[in-house]
C-alpha cells in the first residue's frame, strides 16, 4: 500500500499534545510517525506527498451520532450519500443510532449495514445496538449477539422506556457484557409532543412546548440507575443547563458517565429561531442563552466530553408543513467543522479542545483505538483550511438532506482532504 507524506501542515493531535507545524507519515493504511521541528529527522520515501501548508492536520473526526437513514428510509438519505457527506466533513468514524428500519436489534441488520458500508467504500460505520427489541422499550435485545456482530454500544435512540424497571434491567444487562449504554434523556409525559423550548419564544408563537425538566429529570433518573447498576453511561445530545450541572456533579461523585452535545446546540437558541421556519425544528429544542452558555462552559471544563453532529437528513416533505407538524432534525455533518471553528473564534474553547472533542474523546468514550495520530493507529486523518469561505448550496453539499438553518449561508472553514485507513476518501 502507498506511503504518504503529509508535509507543512499545522498538526493538531490533542491526545499526544501536538500543536505545531510538521509532517505526518502514513504507510500500509497506518500512521507511521509524526515529526515536528522538535523531533529528529526521518527517513521515508513517499509514494505521494500532500502539501498541507496553511492548513491544519488532525486525526479524522469521530462522530457519535450520524443518521444515515439506511436501511429503511432511502427517501431521506442512503449510506452512500451520507458517508459521502461524512467524508466531506472530515469524519472518518461514525456511530449509527439503532433507529434504522428495521431497528438494529438482530445480527442480520448489522451485517446488512457492514455490507452496505463496504460497497460504499467507507470503513468505520459503527452500528449502535438497540437496548430493547424493536426499540419498543419492553424486552431486552440480544446485546451479546449484537456486540459479537460488531455493535459498539447500546442505546434507546430517542425512544422512551415503558418503565424504569426495564431501563434498570437493560442497563444491568448491558453492563454484564461491558457494553456502553448511550441514553437519550427525555420524559415523554413532560415533553408531551412539544416542538419548542418552554419559554418566551414558545409562548409568543403558541407552540406546544418542552420544559427543561423533561430532560434533566431523565438525566437524574438515569444517573441514579447508573450508580445502582454500575454500568458505563453516556448521555447523548444534552441541551440544558440543569442536565449539564447534574452530569458535572455525578462525575465529581465518581460515576462512570460521559456526555455529548450536538454542534448546533452550542450556537443556536430559541432567540435565533426564525418563526415557523421548520429548519429550526429540532429535538431536543433550541433552548435559552443561559443554557447555551452553560453548554459551552461544560464543554470547556470537560463535563461534556464530546461534540457530535447529530446528523438527521430529511426529505423535503418532512419539513413542509406548519412548524409543529414537521419532522425535527438538522442535516449537520457538513457544518460540523465550520461551527466548531466558530466556537473557537467565540473564545468558548481552544482549537485543541475543539479537535479533542471530535477525536480522542469520542474514541475514549467508545473504547476504540482511534482519534489520535499515534504510531500504529489506522491512518484516519483530516486536513482542513480554517480560512476558506464557502457557501452552503447544492453545488457544495453532499448530504441528501438540505434541512439546515444555515442553508444559503457562507461558512468559514472547510475540510480539504479526508483520509481513511490511508486512502483519500474526500478531496476538494
Amino acid at each position: 500500500m502507498s506511503k504518504i507524506h503529509i508535509s507543512n501542515g499545522h498538526i493538531i493531535d490533542p491526545a499526544n499534545n501536538i500543536d505545531k507545524t510538521g509532517s505526518v507519515y502514513l504507510a500500509d493504511g497506518k500512521i507511521v510517525a509524526v515529526h515536528t521541528s522538535e523531533t529528529n529527522g526521518f527517513d521515508f520515501t513517499a509514494d505521494k506527498t500532500i502539501d498541507a501548508s496553511s492548513q491544519f492536520v488532525s486525526p479524522g473526526f469521530i462522530d457519535l451520532s450520524v443518521r444515515l437513514r439506511d436501511p429503511g428510509q432511502s427517501y431521506k438519505g442512503t449510506l452512500l450519500s451520507e458517508t459521502s457527506a461524512a467524508a466531506a466533513a472530515g469524519v472518518t468514524s461514525l456511530c449509527l443510532p439503532p433507529d434504522t428500519r428495521p431497528v438494529i436489534d438482530t445480527q442480520a441488520v448489522v451485517e446488512l449495514i457492514h455490507d452496505k458500508a463496504e460497497k460504499a467504500h467507507y470503513n468505520n460505520v459503527f452500528p449502535i445496538a438497540a437496548l430493547t427489541q424493536g426499540l419498543a422499550g419492553s424486552e431486552l435485545s440480544s446485546m451479546y449477539a449484537l456486540k459479537e456482530a460488531g455493535c459498539i454500544a447500546v442505546s434507546n435512540a430517542d425512544v422512551p422506556f415503558s418503565s424504569l424497571l426495564v431501563l434498570r434491567r437493560a442497563m444491568e444487562y448491558a453492563c454484564s457484557h461491558d457494553l456502553l449504554v448511550i441514553y437519550h434523556p427525555d420524559i415523554p409525559s413532560l415533553s408531551n409532543n412539544g416542538c419548542a423550548n418552554e419559554g418566551a419564544f414558545a409562548t409568543r408563537y403558541g407552540l406546544p412546548s418542552i420544559p427543561e425538566a423533561s430532560e434533566s429529570i431523565a438525566v437524574a433518573q438515569c444517573l441514579e440507575l447508573a450508580e445502582l447498576t454500575g454500568c458505563r453511561l453516556h448521555f447523548s445530545q444534552i441541551s440544558s443547563k440543569r442536565s449539564a450541572i447534574k452530569i458535572q456533579q455525578a462525575k465529581k461523585y465518581g460515576l462512570k458517565v460521559s456526555a455529548d452535545v450536538a454542534i448546533h446546540q452550542l450556537h443556536l437558541t430559541e432567540n435565533d429561531i426564525e418563526p415557523f421556519n421548520s429548519a429550526y425544528h429540532v429535538l431536543p429544542p433550541f433552548r435559552t442563552d443561559k443554557d447555551k452558555l452553560q453548554l459551552r462552559e461544560s464543554l470547556a471544563n470537560g463535563t461534556i466530553n464530546a461534540i457530535c453532529s447529530d446528523h438527521q437528513p430529511h426529505d423535503l416533505d418532512a419539513k413542509l408543513g406548519a412548524f409543529p407538524e414537521t419532522e425535527p432534525g438538522v442535516s449537520s455533518l457538513e457544518t460540523l467543522l465550520p461551527l466548531m471553528l466558530k466556537l473557537v473564534k467565540d473564545n468558548a474553547i481552544t482549537l485543541s479542545q475543539g479537535v479533542a472533542a471530535l477525536t480522542y474523546k469520542p474514541a475514549r468514550i467508545l473504547n476504540i483505538q482511534s482519534g489520535s495520530l499515534s504510531s500504529g493507529l489506522p491512518a484516519d486523518l483530516c486536513i482542513f483550511d480554517t480560512e476558506q469561505h464557502w457557501e452552503i448550496s447544492q453545488d457544495n453539499w453532499k448530504s441528501a438532506g438540505r434541512n439546515t438553518p444555515y442553508w444559503g449561508e457562507t461558512m468559514k472553514g472547510r475540510v480539504t482532504k479526508t483520509i481513511q485507513a490511508g486512502k483519500i476518501i474526500h478531496s476538494l
Binding site: A200, T203, G206, L207, A322, F323, P324
Partner: protein, 320 residues
C-alpha cells in the same frame, strides 16, 4: 427579517398575526372598519369593492360563528365565497395541506381565510401559496386570532375612544388562547397603560410576562380599577387534562360576578369572544347587563373583517 404579511411597499398583503404590525397599520384597519359599520346600518348593505374576487374559507377546525361572519363579510363586499370544512384528526392521512391549497389555486381563487388546529398553519400557507393570493388567519392552534383581536380593539375604541390611559384585564385560559395572544399584542401596539392577565398558574403560559403583561393569580386584585374586562372561554377539555379540578371551582375563583365587577371602574366594559359559558366564566346577569358589549363585538366583527379583507386585497392588482 421581513414580515411576510407586508408587500414590498409596506402595505398589508396577508393578515396572519398582530406580531410585527405597527400602530399605523392597526389604526388603518380600525378606521376602514368604521366606514363599513355605517354601511351596515343602511338599507343596501353591499358594496362592489371585491366583485369578481373569489374568497375561500378553509376551515380545518369547526366553527360556525367565525365562518359565518367571514362569509357575510365577503358577501357584503360582493365577493364570491366558497366555504370548505375539512375535519382533521391528528393521524389523518388525507390530502396534504399544500395539495389542498394548490388544487384550489388551480381554480383561480384570490384569498384564503384559514382556520387550523396547528400553530403556524397560516404562515405556512402564506409562504407556499401563489403570489397574488392573500391569506387571512381565522385562528391557528394556540398562536393567533388576529381578526378577533381587531374587532375587540374596535369595540374598545367605540366605548373608550383613547387607548393610552386604559387598564385592561384578560381573564381565563391564557395558556391555550390564541385570542389572548393576539389581544395582548394589539393592546401593546396601540399603547394601553397596562395589560393584566388573571388566571390560575396552570392556565398561564411560561414566561407570560415577556408578552408585556402583569400577572395576577387573584381575580379581586386583578380587577381593581380596570377599564376593560375581557373574559376568555373555558373549554370543557381543560377539566380532564389535569389543568383545573372543576368548572365550579373555576367559577368560585375566577368567575365574573356582580360583586367582583364592582371592583373595576364603574364605566368598565365587559367583553367576551364567545360563545359564553354562563355560570362558568360569568354570571348570566353580567352577560345580559348594561356593561356587557358582547353583542356589539359580534356586529363589529363583520365590519372589521370587511376592512381586513379589503385592505389585504387592495394592492393585489398593482404591478409589483
Amino acid at each position: 427579517m421581513t414580515n411576510i404579511q407586508l408587500n414590498q411597499n409596506g402595505k398589508l398583503k396577508h393578515f396572519l398575526s398582530i406580531d410585527g404590525l405597527n400602530e399605523p397599520i392597526l389604526t388603518e384597519i380600525l378606521d376602514t372598519a368604521e366606514s363599513f359599520t355605517s354601511m351596515s346600518k343602511q338599507q343596501v348593505k353591499k358594496v362592489p369593492l371585491l366583485r369578481g374576487k373569489t374568497i375561500v374559507n378553509l376551515f380545518f377546525e369547526n366553527s360556525t360563528r367565525t365562518r359565518t361572519t367571514f362569509e357575510l363579510a365577503a358577501t357584503r363586499l360582493s365577493a364570491d365565497v366558497l366555504s370548505l370544512n375539512i375535519a382533521t384528526s391528528a393521524t389523518s392521512k388525507g390530502e396534504s395541506l399544500l395539495d389542498t391549497i394548490h388544487n384550489l389555486e388551480a381554480m383561480h381563487v384570490d384569498m384564503f381565510v384559514v382556520r387550523h388546529a396547528i400553530s403556524g398553519a397560516g404562515h405556512f400557507i402564506a409562504q407556499n401559496t401563489a403570489p397574488h393570493i392573500s391569506v387571512i388567519n381565522a385562528g391557528d392552534g394556540q398562536h393567533a386570532h388576529p381578526t378577533q383581536a381587531m374587532l375587540d380593539m374596535f369595540t374598545i375604541r367605540q366605548y373608550k375612544q383613547d387607548f393610552k390611559p386604559l387598564k385592561v384585564a384578560i381573564i381565563g385560559d391564557i395558556l391555550h388562547s390564541r385570542v389572548a395572544r393576539s389581544q395582548i399584542q394589539a393592546l401593546n401596539v396601540l399603547g394601553v397603560k397596562e395589560i393584566r392577565v388573571i388566571a390560575p398558574k396552570t392556565l398561564l403560559p411560561s414566561h407570560v410576562e415577556s408578552l408585556g403583561v402583569v400577572v395576577y393569580n387573584n381575580l379581586e386584585e386583578g380587577l381593581a380599577g380596570v377599564d376593560v374586562v375581557i373574559m376568555l372561554r373555558l373549554q370543557k377539555e381543560r377539566m380532564t387534562a389535569a389543568l383545573l379540578p372543576s368548572e365550579r371551582e373555576y367559577f368560585k375563583c375566577f368567575g365574573l360576578t356582580e360583586a367582583r365587577l364592582k371592583l373595576a371602574k364603574p364605566d368598565a366594559i365587559v367583553m367576551h369572544p364567545g360563545p359564553i359559558n354562563r355560570g362558568v366564566e360569568m354570571e348570566s346577569s353580567i352577560a345580559d347587563g348594561p356593561q356587557s358589549v358582547i353583542l356589539q363585538q359580534v356586529s363589529n366583527g363583520i365590519a372589521v373583517r370587511m376592512a381586513i379583507m379589503s385592505l389585504t386585497m387592495q394592492h393585489n392588482g398593482v404591478a409589483q
